[in-house]
């Protein structure tokens, strides 16, 4: 028998995959699946140590849009070719495919993708006679938040990510900066954190969230905000489109039928105002069962699997954002109120040209270079500190710029 060790994130969708994998093992009785399910950061560190040192502990790994191209380029991931005839590679969304390919060759298969969108409470908006535009600006959002913020009734104007981390607050903050016309680096890799765009964007963010946000926003990440929103405590929330499935789920949300969905807010530009993220499955080069692993990830990202999910958990639970066919499915589009917005968010995000001004990197809410984790972590930390009121934004940005410059110089991008 073949044993496949699968390292994955403990997201709802992945947990579902784990549950449904019984179907796969029934079809492939000679395959045994072993699961290592970890929280995102922990998983990333675990996988990185293993892959970079050639530990060979995993046959299937779950990685994001950030790692896939980098690791592919290092040739740590097996290139994926010779798909099974039923797989239909061309059904994968082009933007998503682009994110996961190196030199046009796929190195990982998308499990689900997300953009960022705006969630809002239709009932609260109606009660105040407000109307959410299809493409709101951040300024408009601020106006709504001001009107809807009512802490005495346990309703906060807006919930946003505040928890430090390049994958937490920095995903959101980067999109705000993008919307304000900013960028991480200029064409010569000079960091731009001291630019007026950054200053405006970050000041706006800090002001908005600390005035009209829930208490203690600096410790809220995706999960905390989701919990808050589900408990009916947020009037608005800008975050990943995957949450759509949760906020409309009656078993966990107290407001399943009172949620509206529109695009992520823009400001001076819509470019880069919504992020693009993909969770993908890949097979490390160090795996000894590459073919079996490849078979498995094909199954897990297939239409067949999507249908299985639909059958078991309802049609709106289908893995979002990966396949064009999903969005061609009228039944899905009807049952899933957030599907259209999600689709648009994913389709409009362009990792190759993410910002208003040109940049030397790819990636919307991150730069696909190994050093970005360090940079993002550091900047995220400072901004969450500013949010908690422990420092002044502009001074902080200036310091950050220097420090980022140091890092990027040390890595040899600036000669």
């Amino acid at each position: 028998a073949t044993t496949l060790t699968i390292g994955t994130v403990n997201n709802g969708d992945m947990v579902r995959m784990q549950a449904l994998s019984k179907t796969y093992t029934e079809q492939h009785p000679d395959v045994e699946l072993r699961w290592v399910v970890l929280e995102e950061n922990t998983l990333r560190q675990r996988l990185t140590t293993d892959i970079t040192t050639g530990g060979g502990q995993f046959d299937v790994i779950t990685i994001g849009a950030y790692e896939a191209p980098m690791w592919g380029r290092k040739d740590w991931l097996t290139p994926l070719e010779k798909f099974s005839p039923t797989y239909d590679v061309d059904d994968l969304m082009p933007n998503v495919r682009k994110q996961l390919s190196v030199d046009g060759k796929l190195r990982a298969l998308p499990f689900y993708s997300e953009g960022s969108i705006t969630y809002y409470r239709t009932d609260l908006f109606a009660a105040k006679g407000l109307k959410m535009p299809e493409e709101p600006t951040w300024t408009e959002i601020r106006g709504f938040a001001e009107k809807l913020h009512d802490p005495s009734k346990n309703v906060y104007g807006i919930c946003l990510r505040g928890k430090a981390g390049w994958g937490e607050n920095m995903a959101l903050v980067t999109t705000i900066v993008n919307a304000y016309g900013g960028r991480w680096f200029d064409e010569k890799w000079q960091p731009q954190l001291d630019s007026p765009e950054w200053s405006q964007a970050v000041n706006f963010y800090v002001d908005l969230l600390s005035k009209f946000g829930p208490p203690g926003p600096s410790s809220n990440g995706f999960n905390e905000n989701l919990t808050l929103f589900n408990a009916g405590k947020c009037a608005m929330w800008v975050d990943a489109s995957v949450a759509g499935a949760f906020v409309t789920d009656k078993t966990q949300s107290q407001v399943p039928d009172k949620v509206g969905f529109v695009k992520a807010p823009r400001q001076v530009t819509p470019k880069g105002s919504s992020w693009l993220w993909t969770w993908a499955l890949a097979v490390p080069k160090s795996s000894k069962q590459q073919q079996a692993a490849f078979d498995f990830i094909q199954w897990a990202t297939s239409k067949e699997y999507a249908n299985l999910v639909a059958k078991r958990y309802g049609i709106s639970a289908m893995p979002p954002g990966t396949r064009l066919s999903t969005y061609a499915n009228a039944e899905y589009m009807k049952a899933t109120p957030f599907a259209r917005v999600t689709q648009e968010a994913i389709q409009t995000a362009n990792p190759d040209s993410p910002t208003l001004k040109p940049v030397p990197y790819t990636g919307v809410q991150f730069a696909t270079i190994p050093e970005f984790q360090a940079i993002g972590t550091q900047v995220g930390k400072s901004i969450s500190g500013a949010l908690a009121g422990s420092s002044k934004v502009d001074a902080e940005l200036k310091k950050l710029n220097e420090s980022v410059q140091r890092t990027i110089k040390r890595a040899g991008y600036i000669k």
């Binding site: 403990n10 290592v36 140590t49 530990g55």
Partner: protein, 277 residues
């Protein structure tokens, strides 16, 4: 003087009540965790908190269904028990030597031992991972046993050393006069006499090993993963998860808590040598 007797009784009662109060406050978070594990996810989050609710075993059912709890528990038991055993086997002789055959260097060695404990784990992850890989020890219980034992060895030596220091030398000398070999002196006199301290030390080691997460997560994948790794997989999933988290936490901690409660008498017995003199 009944008044005095009464006053004493009142004082005793106040003291008992205070003790109970403090104990309940300190225990409350655990109690609340266990309670929460029997709520629905929505109930766990509701505000004001639910104090009276219909308990559900749903969370436990789901966890048991998705994970082989016994597999993880067994790994926890083997690794933490094994490491404790190995640790004791190494620590007792060392502590014996330091306590009863001190040299000028003893003090220095003890301090040095403690300092080894201070290497931050993250700092040495990569070298250890490389070594484990080259020795083929990745994802084995053995690697955890070795690491746990070594990580806690300094603490164990220290604790046992301080307990041994309290043992009157006389009774060891008496055993020597009675013709006991070094081995017999240890196993028939020293160890039984200091069993309270040894139990404390062993329990401490067991707890630390059981709860260790960093090495468990990083050096094992599936075969040898203990409960702490299982808990890590629940630590922040999407959506409401408090009830499930409480349930898995309860499951992960229950064995060690029960063990600790069971051995409480042994622990608190301590060393009383009133009988010697």
């Amino acid at each position: 003087m009944p008044a005095l007797k009464q006053r004493r009784q009142i004082a005793d009662t106040v003291r008992a009540i205070c003790s109970w109060l403090i104990a309940l406050i300190i225990f409350f978070p655990i109690f609340w965790m266990v309670i929460t594990s029997f709520k629905t996810e929505l109930g766990a989050f509701s505000m004001p908190p639910e104090f009276f609710f219909k308990p559900t075993l749903e969370n436990y059912r789901e966890i048991m269904e998705a994970n082989d709890y016994l597999h993880f528990a067994w790994n926890s038991l083997v690794t933490s028990g094994g490491a404790t055993l190995v640790g004791m086997l190494l620590a007792v002789p060392a502590a014996y030597s330091f306590a009863f055959h001190p040299t000028r260097r003893t003090q220095g060695i003890l301090t040095w031992m403690l300092s080894t404990k201070m290497l931050p784990a993250v700092g040495v992850l990569v070298p250890i991972y490389l070594m484990a890989r080259d020795l083929g020890l990745l994802d084995t219980r053995l690697v955890l046993v070795i690491i746990f034992a070594l990580v806690n060895l300094p603490i164990m030596v220290w604790m046992i050393y301080t307990y041994f220091r309290d043992v009157p030398r006389d009774i060891l000398e008496a055993a020597r006069m009675d013709g006991a070999t070094l081995f017999q002196e240890m196993f028939r006199v020293l160890l039984p006499v200091s069993r309270g301290g040894l139990a404390s030390t062993a329990l401490l080691s067991l707890i630390l090993n059981w709860n260790e997460a960093f090495w468990s997560i990083n050096l094992t994948t599936t075969q040898a993963s203990p409960l702490s790794a299982l808990v890590a997989s629940f630590s922040s999933p999407q959506g409401l998860f408090w009830a499930k988290l409480s349930a898995i936490s309860t499951l992960a901690c229950a064995p060690i808590v029960l063990l600790g409660w069971g051995s409480q008498k042994q622990l608190v017995r301590g060393l009383t040598f009133g009988a010697v003199k």
